[in-house]
């Protein structure tokens, strides 16, 4: 197989497919290369497709046509110890109107749908093709070789949307080694449960969905658990830092089992049937570990560009990915018009990205990466909180303390004054 096109996109995930759609709609000859048997076959995430303005703009009726599960109406943050849970629930009627704030989706369904929207606009989708190496011409990137279906694809611009382990960016010399301290791994179990049971159990009606984040049930590792409601299933899993997992001496599925066995979680998943198990890395190193994102003839988007941030409350990636894909596509359209595929021409992408919410948000929460590497957030504070709540509610004939004194005593007992001050500064710098 040998092909020539204006733009070659490696990876039919959300970033690659939306870039393909934008380029095809502009009349460019675009080829979307996917290693799975269908788009989405290799893709997993926790479960939440965030509201993404560029998606709403390019496909205004997507929420009526895309394979979506539920829109997220209820957000829960739960601090857990093995025997207790302290939860904060936020339900918002403003999350009840389109454009909804987020949807639970299945990636094999959603990614496949989105890639086919690009095909409808004229993009060429090549499945069963793993990009193996870059082709060069006059010193610049000018295509890829693929294996599976063997062949050479040549073009003017390559957009690397090949995910967190971007071998394309590595081969282009745009990034150094992948490091455990800037990666997280997500594992997930999909559990089937009847729709009515989910609605009753989570207090939901119609298409409403719940998003529960768990802090403190990750076997002492830095990370968090999650539970999302789909229409007839629950996505339950956790994300842990890779360096933390490495030193923990624990297997991730055993720790997930502890979460599933937690007294509160057990009630939520009771009677559910395991349907599918999946895992994937997440680029959690923040802005400081981003690779270079453009060179002569090539741009890097989405997870491949390390576009992801978490501040302990938000974890965003898919919306950043799709937005970066569209920005790269806009730059590619301008480069095609000018007939200039040099790094200087493609640097417009970096400029647009810097001005977008993506880099602004990643900069705003650049200190959150350090905070999220603080073990006590995950190990100690959930327990302190649970101890305070326990003393607050327990009626046992022992004289009570005033609230602030109680909280201070519990925190000092576990962390010490020095630790409290250090953590306070760290959390303050990250979030406040």
């Amino acid at each position: 197989m040998a092909k020539y096109c204006d733009v070659i996109i490696v990876g039919a995930g959300p970033a690659g497919s939306l870039a393909a759609l934008k380029l095809a709609r502009a009349g460019l000859n675009v080829c979307l290369v996917e290693r799975g048997r269908y788009p989405g076959a290799k893709n997993m995430f926790g479960g939440l497709l965030h509201n993404t303005p560029v998606l709403n703009e390019l496909l205004p009726d997507f929420y009526q046509r895309a394979p979506l599960e539920r829109h997220v109406y209820k957000k829960v943050l739960a601090f857990m110890t093995p025997e207790s849970a302290v939860s904060l629930t936020f339900e918002n009627e403003r999350f009840e109107q389109p454009p909804y704030n987020g949807y639970t989706v299945f990636r094999p369904a959603f990614d496949n749908w989105l890639a086919n929207e690009a095909v409808k606009e004229g993009a060429l989708l090549l499945t069963d093709c793993t990009a193996e190496d870059l082709l060069r011409k006059d010193g610049r990137v000018a295509g890829v070789t693929v294996k599976g279906r063997e062949g050479k694809l040549r073009g003017n611009i390559v957009i690397a949307a090949d995910g967190v382990l971007s071998f394309m960016a590595e081969k282009a010399g745009l990034r150094k080694n992948f490091k455990a301290k800037s990666m997280g791994v997500g594992i997930k179990l999909l559990l089937g449960l009847p729709e009515e049971t989910i609605n009753e159990r989570f207090h939901l009606v119609r298409d409403e969905g719940a998003d529960i984040s768990f802090v403190g049930m990750t076997g002492g590792m830095r990370g968090g658990g999650f539970l999302y409601t789909n229409r007839e299933s629950l996505s339950v899993g956790m994300v842990v830092h890779l360096d933390s997992l490495k030193s923990s001496g624990k297997a991730p599925y055993d720790v997930m089992d502890e979460l599933l066995q937690h007294p509160q979680v057990r009630k939520l998943v009771k009677g559910a049937v395991p349907l599918e198990y999946s895992a994937h890395l997440i680029p959690e190193g923040g802005i400081k570990t981003m690779p270079q994102i453009y060179t002569d003839g090539m741009m890097v988007v989405g997870d491949a560009a390390g576009l992801c941030y978490t501040n302990g409350i938000n974890l965003e990636g898919i919306n950043l990915a799709m937005t970066s894909g569209v920005l790269a596509a806009e730059t590619a359209i301008k480069a095609m018009e000018a007939g200039d595929y040099s790094a200087r021409s493609l640097s417009l992408y970096k400029k647009q990205l810097d001005e977008s919410f993506i880099i602004k948000d990643m900069k705003t929460f650049k200190n959150a990466v350090g905070m999220m590497h603080q073990e006590r957030i995950f190990r100690t504070y959930p327990r302190v909180l649970a101890d305070v709540m326990d003393k607050l509610y327990r009626v046992d004939g022992v004289p009570r303390s005033k609230l602030l004194r109680l909280a201070r005593r519990e925190a000092l007992k576990e962390v010490g004054l020095k630790g409290l001050v250090a953590d306070g500064i760290k959390i303050g710098r990250a979030l406040l």
């Binding site: 996917e34 290693r35 799975g36 048997r37 989405g40 076959a41 290799k42 893709n43 997993m44 299945f106 990636r107 094999p108 369904a109 499945t127 069963d128 093709c129 793993t130 193996e132 693929v146 294996k147 599976g148 279906r149 967190v164 382990l165 071998f167 992948f178 490091k179 455990a180 990666m183 791994v185 594992i187 997930k188 179990l189 999909l190 299933s233 996505s235 890779l242 997992l245 490495k246 030193s247 923990s248 001496g249 624990k250 297997a251 991730p252 599925y253 997930m256 089992d257 599933l260 395991p274 349907l275 599918e276 198990y277 999946s278 895992a279 994937h280 890395l281």
Partner: protein, 91 residues
């Protein structure tokens, strides 16, 4: 979640060519062998008797954990050929 049930839960299109090859000599001298416990699909096994690390690449979820966690350069790691490997249906 019993990891032994992985093959019943998740679909794989198995290639006869392995996409991960371990250098068993390097693994013999590894001081952590973190791949064994960290792999979310339990693909790696260390046999203390024979001092050999073995991998079952057939049920690899292609998550990348081992590739990043191995700091000894013992893994020859690539994505499977197009069309092969894990094939998520829902997730």
């Amino acid at each position: 979640m019993n990891i032994e049930n992985l093959q019943q839960l998740t679909q794989f299109q198995i290639d006869e060519q392995p996409h991960i090859v371990v250098n068993k000599e390097i693994c013999k001298t590894c001081d952590h062998r973190a791949c064994v416990l960290s792999c979310p699909a339990n693909c790696y096994t260390w046999d203390e008797a024979t001092k050999l690390l073995s991998i079952v690449y057939e049920t690899c979820l292609e998550c990348g954990t081992c590739y990043v966690i191995c700091d000894k350069g013992a893994l020859d790691w690539s994505y499977p050929r197009g069309g092969y490997g894990v094939c998520f249906r829902l997730t």
